[in-house]
């Protein structure tokens, strides 16, 4: 027996959540879908496949003040950023949930990032199984699946007239609307299938390809914008700058991308990673070699966003296939 909730009751539940928490859900805006705070459940885009930007922005915002320094009583006062609200994020796809779990590794390993940790503690994830796989999806090759409950607090799976409700964690149980749930013997539909990507052994293949001219050729068309890093559920490079606004100094952390030209430039102008090829190789090296070496799995969830947005079709699935076929020229 499973628990189900009807479509209309789901809206009632979400309506309650807008009162008790800050509810974040997919919203259609100007032809795109983005995770935004909603105060009216009618604004939620229920029939979305996935958003343009992943929900990582609610744990690791594009811009976040770490602390401010203010003048006080002839001295200075450090004011930390305590402003973290109780969030519920509705509509988290399993690929994005895996992204958040992977993001935990660099952020919560000792010494842990306290601000990120507070966001995580105060956020409950309501996952939504995927009815369809987009042509760019390949999550099943990256350690998850369209109906994977592994990294969410509640998983909803759409069935006729409603959703199966699976409370995965205690945090998830705590926000369930017990009065709106019904027992049912409906079973979940099989998850959609998708093409696979030959990820097996990619670490070694990447390691052996370090000096291959493949990277220079691939980077020929790369624009070195920041789109792939910004839409990715896991990319976590950031820059920290101090801003002096009328006598208050704010230390602000903002997204960055390994593709930006000044990323590895050091004082004096020296750049060890100068050139288009090394920059692009770094992106795939980080995701498919360095991150797995350090944290045990590739930094990729198969969500396909980078494939969809890249203006020049640098396709991670194609790159993985190409690198597997390179045959290895030198070790690293």
């Amino acid at each position: 027996m499973t628990q189900v909730i009807s479509k209309s009751d789901l809206m009632v539940w979400l309506g309650r959540l807008t009162e008790s928490h800050r509810l974040i859900a997919p919203v259609d805006e100007a032809g795109t879908t983005l995770f935004q705070r909603v105060s009216r459940v009618e604004d939620i885009a229920l029939d979305f496949t996935n958003t343009v930007l992943s929900p990582k922005e609610w744990f690791f915002p594009p811009t976040e003040t770490l602390f401010s320094v203010e003048k006080k009583d002839g001295g200075i006062e450090l004011v930390p950023n305590e402003g973290v609200e109780e969030n519920v994020i509705f509509g988290v796809r399993p690929c994005d949930a895996l992204g958040i779990a992977l993001l935990d590794k660099p952020f919560l390993n000792e010494p842990a990032d306290a601000l990120y940790g507070r966001h995580r503690d105060k956020t409950t994830l309501i996952g939504l199984s995927c009815r369809e796989a987009r042509p760019e999806c390949f999550c099943t090759s990256m350690g998850t699946a369209p109906d994977d409950p592994a990294n969410v607090d509640v998983l909803l799976t759409e069935v006729a007239d409603g959703y199966i409700v699976d409370a995965v964690t205690d945090k998830g149980k705590a926000i369930l609307p017990q009065d709106l749930l019904k027992e049912s013997d409906v079973t979940a539909p099989p998850p959609p299938s998708m093409a696979t990507v030959p990820v097996e052994g990619i670490e070694d293949a990447m390691s052996q390809s370090f000096d291959d001219p493949y990277w220079e050729r691939l980077a020929d068309r790369c624009l070195h914008c920041k789109l792939c890093a910004y839409v990715c559920p896991i990319c976590y490079c950031f820059d920290v700058r101090d801003y002096n606004d009328k006598g208050t100094v704010q230390r602000v952390r903002s997204w960055e991308s390994c593709q930006s030209s000044g990323f590895t430039t050091i004082a004096g102008g020296y750049d060890r990673r100068a050139g288009k090829g090394p920059h692009l190789r770094q992106r795939f090296g980080h995701k498919l070699l360095y991150f797995p070496r350090e944290f045990g799995s590739p930094a990729c969830t198969g969500c396909g966003r980078c494939v969809k947005v890249c203006p020049v079709n640098i396709d991670v699935r194609e790159v993985i296939g190409d690198v597997q076929g390179l045959g290895g020229t030198s070790g690293q």
Binding site: A30, L53, T63, L223, C225, R241, S254, K308, P311
Partner: protein, 289 residues
């Protein structure tokens, strides 16, 4: 595009590569979705058959020439792209001898993205009166008669100007609020070739990396201003924006002003100094009068 014309592109590319006239031909190839185009760099004559040309060839390849200064390059250009070549020639960013230009008479490109081939032509094609490239070494296709420019060409700009200042401010605030400063618009643009963009400067730090409404507004406004008289109207900036900011509105506004005030359109030839680098002593522009 007719298959024999695509074959002409391939034959010309093969000729340029085998004769050693160029090291590389930059054109269009098929993307991994099997239906749209992507930029393709061909170094070997055997690979020219990967070159394609169809209504998904929206990319402006001219930006790649800036990095290849000093190397001989062949390039496939649509008319809008060819205007960007003139802008770069004018500004000394490429040398005419280095480029072999395969110009394509264009019937327009459709709305496109990954795995998406739209039915409708892109908006920029609907007000295009330049279906033959303005600069080329080899022409693919037959030049044809152009429709005359009309007031309708700048209709979107006029519609925005007709709104009240409060409406305009609210409209743009909403648009800029979505900006995540990915700089895809800058990177895709052939005219944005500064080795250090003003947004990357640390001292003075004009905008920094903070993603905030006022900073976003400065970014987009100043970029539009920097493109005044230089933007060739390829609209790639708008196409690549992940959150659909209507950048073409800003660029068309500048293009219309430059045309109205100075009678100038970017990239029609490579000799005329662009208007913000010139002046007329007695001109009346409503400034200081």
């Amino acid at each position: 595009m007719a298959p024999e014309l695509v074959q002409q592109i391939r034959d010309k590319a093969r000729e340029l590569l085998t004769s050693g006239a160029v090291d590389c031909v930059i054109g269009y190839g098929r993307a991994t979705d099997g239906v749209t185009a992507r930029p393709l760099f061909v170094y070997e004559p055997e690979k020219v058959d990967e070159l394609i040309f169809d209504e998904t060839c929206t990319h402006n390849l001219v930006g790649y020439l800036v990095n290849r200064k000093g190397k001989k390059t062949g390039i496939v250009v649509k008319p809008c792209d060819s205007r960007a070549i003139n802008v770069l020639l004018n500004e000394g960013q490429i040398s005419r001898d280095d480029v072999s230009i395969i110009g394509v008479v264009c019937d327009g490109v459709v709305e496109t993205g990954w795995n998406r081939v739209g039915e409708a032509q892109q908006a920029r094609c609907q007000y295009c009166h330049q279906h033959t490239p303005v600069v080329y070494d080899f022409l693919i296709g037959e030049p044809r008669e152009e429709s005359p420019p009309s007031a309708e060409d700048y209709a979107a700009v006029a519609e925005m100007e007709a709104k009240s200042p409060e409406e305009r401010e609210a409209f743009w605030a909403e648009q800029f609020d979505r900006c995540c400063r990915c700089y895809a618009c800058r990177q895709v643009c052939p005219a944005c070739y500064c080795t250090e963009c003003f947004v990357d400067k640390l001292d003075p730090m004009w905008v920094g990396i903070r993603v905030a409404p006022e900073e976003n507004r400065i970014w987009h406004t100043i970029r539009a201003y920097h493109l005044a008289g230089r933007c060739s109207g390829c609209n790639e900036c708008e196409r690549v924006c992940p959150v659909n900011i209507p950048l073409s509105l800003l660029n068309r506004k500048m293009a219309r002003d430059v045309e109205d005030l100075f009678g100038f359109q970017a990239g029609l030839d490579d000799k005329e100094m662009q208007p913000l680098g010139a002046f007329e002593k007695d001109e009346k522009l409503g400034i200081g009068e």
